[in-house]
Symmetry: C2
DNA sequence: ACCTGAACACCGTTCAAGT
DNA sequence: ACCTGAACACCGTTCAAGT
């Protein structure tokens, strides 16, 4: 799948932008997004770096294309869930849509940061939000309230939220804990929380993003709050 | 303030890490974060690039230091607001704290992305969250619920949320609109929303982040939702 | 103690050239 | 139509050396 193409005698299959983009996703998945360089990508495809520019305008366009691949994957995943019609239960329909999107991002942990970074107004992203808006409208939201709701959801609508501290390796976690202990006497509330809450191991699922239960808690708080607004508007 | 130090006959004031970090913030403010390179930073300080490594371990440490400068500025701003004691009105106290933090980020629009990117568990960040947790506790939250609440707030607790599409220049906006119009017939809900909602000009305040009214809407929805949870827990 | 110059290993990208 | 090689203008960083 992602084996580096070796110099072989077989006639070379010509590249196309689709193959380039999927190879880019594979590299990000397996080696991390920081390894996604033009030179490394070319190497994986058994080609010189400069050849990529025939299929992709530049690196920025490559990254936009990668985001599109991920969003397309999200669209596919979202289309497989069979929620109740939004007229019956918009809250459940929206919730399941968002959790489906999240499932895809769990397979590509580097993707949330990239999606935010590039804030791409691509067709794929637009279509995704069209579907989200449809649920809200069919659930009874005015355009105005639906618009606010989508802003309030923010990146959560796509299945992720950037969590502040989430050490990405064990070393980082250890360092944080040491620092924390050194300051514990000046941090009565945090210290109290640490004592009371069983720090239940590495449940974090989306890299430096939140883990599943926290994501669902925050999502449900928002959905509940939005429901109040909807009720007040009707 | 940020003028490049010229070759002058005055005896050179020796650098220190504080001056380095503040110069770095100035560069990010005035030239954009992408202009914050070791070489450019050194040039602004009238020094060779290699000199910086005497005061800062490497670029990663520089960026962590820059984040700390911003968080310190937030701490200062937050300390100037005189909210009611959280025992009387935790919701207002928390709201005003968050909006104060946001005011600082509006002065450093590049900062939210950097803060997320580096997810630094620095003393400054920890102290900020200690203060947030204090409000929740004194407002009646259990440690467990307060913990969930802080996750639910996420980066909003620091005064920002990363909005998905927010074109950063006029050209980008125009391009998006063209694309949108080309697809309008396949996007009935988004098209309907566009028609109904007056697209009230460039109100966006935090770069590709949300504008002030949307931020407050989302914040209030969350605070309301959290209040429900609190009431249910008491 | 503080700063420098040359050099290295990387980037993305251009341009003219090959098949 | 598709790919390449050499070169350019950048990065962050090392290391040995200067004052």
């Amino acid at each position: 799948m992602s084996t580096t193409a070796e110099a072989s005698e077989q006639p070379r299959i010509p590249l196309n932008s689709e193959r380039v983009l999927h190879a880019a996703v594979d590299i990000a998945d397996e080696e991390g997004i920081e390894s996604l360089t033009m030179r490394n990508l070319a190497h994986h495809l058994g080609v010189e770096a400069m050849s990529l520019y025939y299929h992709v305008e530049n690196k920025a366009a490559l990254l936009d294309g990668v985001v599109d691949v991920i969003i397309s994957e999200i669209m596919e995943e979202v289309s497989t869930v069979d929620s109740p019609p939004p007229e019956d239960d918009w809250r459940r329909a929206l919730r399941e849509r968002i959790l489906a999107a999240r499932r895809v991002l769990l397979r590509h942990k580097w993707a949330p940061a990239l999606i935010e970074q590039r804030s791409t107004m691509s067709p794929a992203v637009i279509f995704y939000f069209e579907g989200t808006l449809e649920i809200l409208r069919r659930g009874g939201f005015s355009y105005d309230l639906a618009h606010h709701a989508m802003h309030a959801l923010g990146s959560r609508a796509l299945g992720f939220t950037q969590e502040l501290f989430q050490p990405d390796d064990a070393a980082g976690e250890e360092a944080s804990e040491e620092m924390f202990e050194a300051m514990a006497d000046q941090l009565p509330y945090l210290a109290g929380m640490m004592i009371e809450i069983a720090h239940e191991g590495p449940d974090s699922t989306l890299g430096w993003c939140d883990d599943q239960t926290e994501f669902e808690f925050g999502l449900d708080v928002l959905l509940h709050g939005l429901e109040s607004r909807l009720a007040a508007s009707q």
